[in-house]
Symmetry: C2
Subunit: 316 residues, 2 copies
């Protein structure tokens, strides 16, 4: 990375997506001087624009790519500038990417900014970097930022803490096994899309919608709307976008922003503390010694906890 | 919790599963005196027995419960004492449970110790508590401990760090969409079970096995065996157990134990440090002030990082 702070800011002003891509690479870097520059950049671009940030999730096979392609193109048709960030926490070892290549969203990739998964050793780390990529995209001037994630598990809570509105994709027939629909995921949903509602599956999709509506109290409590869509046939998308635009104008659409931003700041501060501790030689040596002692049964774990904490002090 | 340390130890000696259940509740408790007692208990029971610890994962609908029921009963038939722990990181908000009730494993629940998901605010927290529940079950004297988890995403890496052997369940047809099979998950697998290989699906299951074997280099590198099983019809289970027993006798089956235990000790120490910091009034006040300052644009994030770290010292 050879750009300076002013180069990034200038590139953002000119709408240069190459500079944006480099900026995202910068915030993902683990090098000390990159980290410092990244924080300066994030400070400089903070609060410049307000985008609508959408989370999009669903189990593999539900048609996420097709939905994002169709949905994204509809947004563009209506004059919106969009960015797509993909978060794939499923590849802990190699750090994979949902998007793989952009061939999965062929037309959209020519009209939108698409960026695969930021890497990170932990899910929390991925979320932190995604948050920062969102901030960059927001200040760059996108109207809509779509965050794609895989659809089972913990990732939803993390992504929900990053977005204004969470869209959950389901298959026709998903209502047949309500047990399998995790409450935790539904609790984060703001809209449910029953995708593939075309041809033979229209009837099944309608039944699924009715099943979900009648069985899941939580949908009523949160007033979650269920939409029948065929992303492939481009059906139901326009109606969904109408409703989304209406909601995005409502008073509480951005109500989570303050707590989300404060949480992000807190995470940065805590990460910095852990890093500072790890860089402290006395701490590091003490930690390794205690781990060995406990492992070799020379010290009990509760005594080791006492010992490690004893060395710590703050603000004296 | 009214039991004392000696009551737990006595209950473990007598094989009282009620005491085991209470001990797991104890380690999950967030209360300070419970935490202290939990660490004493974990120290006391450490290294008493060596169980085989198995992770079992697969996407919803793959037949995990049926597999665990059939597989567990086969292990019991062969004279093994088994425990089943379910980890469900998907319900971040309510802290749900995969098992729900024990009706999903009706016969097994009468012959095995079954315990739903330990709660935890983060996936790391869940893994930590699961590790401790495993230690308790191990010292209680179970021969096999089965850890069930949902099957997409980050949870696999966490669970893989807890087990000796990771079993991944797949559907017949899973090989048709190799793109959708996340590399990260396969990298953790030690055995792959293609379940539901009965009736009409036998042919499809065989094709899936061949597809996986021919396409995935990683299977060859790691020498992962693929087994065709019908948990429902109880087919292929006995052969799988034969192979597993053979592997469990091999030299490197428990090779991950040292690094797993050291990682667990490190997590406990780091958690204790963060807790100690949070309990420090100067730190807590400083953190809240900095979060507000950054949020209100009265301080830059990189200056806040400097400020929070400045107060920290270790070992002086």
């Amino acid at each position: 990375v050879s750009l300076k702070l002013k180069d990034y800011i200038e590139g953002f002003k000119q709408g240069d997506t190459t500079v944006l891509a480099q900026a995202i690479t910068l915030i993902e870097s683990q090098k000390d001087d990159h980290k410092k520059l990244a924080l300066q950049l994030l400070s400089a671009v903070k609060n410049i624009n307000q985008s609508v940030i959408l989370g999009i999730s669903g189990t593999p096979g539900v048609g996420k790519s097709t939905f994002i392609e169709t949905f994204g193109l509809e947004l563009i048709k209506r004059g919106k500038k969009i960015a797509v960030l993909a978060v794939d926490p499923s590849s802990g070892v190699t750090g994979g990417s949902i998007l793989g290549d952009k061939t999965r969203m062929q037309e959209l990739s020519q009209k939108a900014f698409i960026r695969p998964s930021p890497s990170g050793k932990t899910l929390g780390g991925v979320a932190l970097k995604t948050r920062e990529a969102i901030l960059l995209c927001e200040s760059f001037g996108f109207d809509y930022i779509l965050i794609e994630t895989v659809g089972v598990g913990q990732s939803e809570s993390q992504i929900a803490s990053l977005v204004d509105h969470f869209i959950l994709l389901m298959q026709p027939g998903a209502g047949d096994d309500l047990q399998a629909i995790k409450r935790g995921i539904l609790e984060h949903a703001d809209s449910i899309i029953v995708n593939k509602a075309d041809g033979d599956l229209v009837k099944k999709a309608n039944i699924t919608k009715a099943q979900l509506e009648s069985s899941l109290d939580i949908l009523r409590q949160k007033n979650i709307h269920i939409h029948l869509v065929s992303a492939l046939k481009k059906q139901g998308i326009s109606e969904f976008v109408d409703e989304l635009f209406k909601e995005a104008n409502s008073h509480d659409f951005f109500s989570k922003r303050e707590s989300q931003e404060k949480l992000w700041i807190e995470q940065i501060l805590e990460d910095a503390l852990i890093e500072a501790l790890e860089a402290n030689k006395k701490y590091h040596a003490q930690k390794l010694k205690l781990i060995d002692d406990v492992y070799n049964n020379n010290e009990s774990i509760e005594k080791a906890v006492e010992d490690i904490v004893k060395g710590l002090s703050y603000g004296n």
